[in-house]
Amino acid sequence: MPDPSLPPAIAVTGLRKSFGEHTVLDGVDLQVAPGTVFSLLGPNGAGKTTAVNILTTLIRANAGDVWVAGHSVAKEPDAVRAAIGVTGQFSAVDPLLTGEENLALMGDLHHLPRRETHRRTTELLERFDLADAATRRAGTYSGGMTRRLDLAMSLIGEPRILFLDEPTTGLDPRSRHTMWQVIHDLATSGVTIFLTTQYLDEADELADRIALLDHGTLVAEGTPDELKRLVTGGHISVQFTDAASLDAAARALGDIPRDHDTLTLQIASDGSVASLKALLDRFDDRSIAVEKLSIHTPDLDDVFFALTGHTDTGASAGDEKATTP
């Protein structure tokens, strides 16, 4: 858990960026406590990659203060660079070099002694399940392997803060889960992680705090649970054996709307055991037989929809180079 006495790993106030007439970030404020996982969640074109590019010193902001690892990205970019590792949306490995050579290149650029580079290279290849492919050219790697190599390359300098821009976009489900495990392990080891994603389940799975970015502004920020509490999407779905039971049940609950086609009632609920028991008791008292029952707790999809008015995360491809590799 974050120690509130420590200065934030990342602090952003009033961040603005536009490309010509097109405003991409319109006054973003955020703070990331050291040792936590922060996820910037938003659809394509929301400005996530632009935010990462500014935080990692790749492009300049038009306005705002951005501090990373205690240094201003505008005034001391090299101090920031020395503290961070970046894995961009598009795998930046050298396809003509082997996996081993790619890592050694990074080690040399971090000015590590040769032996240390070798030690970390071997360890990272092992840890990311790339040892067997170490002497193969990175150009022959699968998508998942390339991402893992890319991530390993950002770790060779042992960064305190790691930026991951859509680390699982375009990966198959298995590679995705491997990547999640890797990110979990990194978070446990104390690295601060700034993660962008367009997947709600990914943010829910990995992040301590989530900020929802839509059209260049943060529309919500908090822990996954806090965000879920923002919406009242929780309900219990009860299915009955026949229309008579359905009608009886609906009447028992104050004539709530019913779905005759599926013989189902949707009853607003917080999903607690007590409320569930009370509900079933009422049906029992009236001898109404319940066929099936399911509990639906609000997930981030509901939050997303409630706050942005759209769920289709692929809908508004904007300035971000949105072609999935």
Binding site: F19, T56, T57, L58, I59, R60, D78, A79, R81, A82, I84, V86, G88, F90, S91, A92, V93, D94, P95, L96, L97, E101, L105, M106, D108, L109, H110, H111, R137, M153, G157
Partner: protein, 256 residues
């Protein structure tokens, strides 16, 4: 370590990367040798008999032009390599690291020069095998090597800038093709005095004519005249212009 030591270390790391690329993907080196070699054979055996140069044999006239052409072809490989780095995101990866800013560009430029020098040497060996008989003394050979290296350095910076400015392999190749046309509009393969007057005004004054004339004078032990210093000035100027262009294109990435 000081900033200068870092710059040198990082540049040599980047140079090793570029040289490794050349061995992994030797087609660029092979093209840099085969293409000038084929043109050498074609021009010498195909056209050579029909082309009249003032005194001396055509092959002795031709070889400096082939050296120039090889240099221009090497530019294309460099521009494509830089553009590929740029579009594949690896340059952006380097830019998020605390390394000397110029290192990645220096690596490409030096790698390009070394690759082209090797290619040039092999083409000259081929020329010697088919009858090229230079009469240069060791000092002249040294001057030839120096001028060729300076020319390759200038062309490498221009090619690097082209690669950064276009940012795509195909765009870089098209832009670099301009460099490959210039030798034909110079005294590289045929004397310029048979060209129409309006064209002569260009060909007689463009840098490649001066470079090729200087190389020819040194290799065949004939007077170099003003061509020498004009060629050096052009090369130095082009190297500086190419460097500034590359630096601007590199920095512009921050303001995208």
């Amino acid at each position: 370590m000081s900033t200068l030591t870092y710059t040198l270390t990082d540049s040599s790391t980047m140079l090793r990367r570029v040289l490794r690329h050349t061995t992994r993907n030797p087609s660029t080196l092979i093209m840099a040798i085969v293409l000038p070699g084929v043109i050498l054979l074609l021009l010498n055996y195909g056209f050579g008999g029909a082309i009249r140069t003032s005194g001396g044999r055509y092959i002795d006239y031709l070889v400096p032009g082939i050296i120039l052409m090889g240099a221009c072809y090497s530019a294309s490989a460099t521009a494509v390599a830089v553009a590929t780095d740029s579009s594949q995101g690896i340059i952006d990866r380097f830019r998020t690291m605390a390394i000397a800013r110029s290192a990645v560009l220096t690596g490409h430029v030096l790698g390009s020069v070394l690759r082209a020098m090797l290619g040039t040497a092999l083409v000259v060996l081929l020329a010697l095998a088919i009858g090229f008989r230079p009469t240069a003394n060791p000092l002249h050979w040294l001057a030839v090597t120096g001028l060729a290296a300076l020319m390759l350095f200038a062309i490498a910076w221009i090619a690097t800038a082209m690669g950064l400015a276009t940012g795509s392999a195909s765009g870089a190749a098209s832009l670099a093709a301009i460099l490959q046309i210039l030798p034909f509009l110079s005294g590289a393969f045929v004397p310029t005095d048979t060209m129409p007057g309006w064209l002569q005004a260009f060909t007689a004054n463009q840098p490649m004519t001066h470079i090729v004339s200087a190389l020819r004078g040194l290799l065949t032990d004939t007077p170099v005249g003003d061509h020498g210093w004009i060629a050096v000035t052009w090369c130095a100027g082009a190297a500086i212009a190419g460097y500034l262009w590359a630096r601007t294109a590199y920095r512009r990435r921050r303001d995208r």
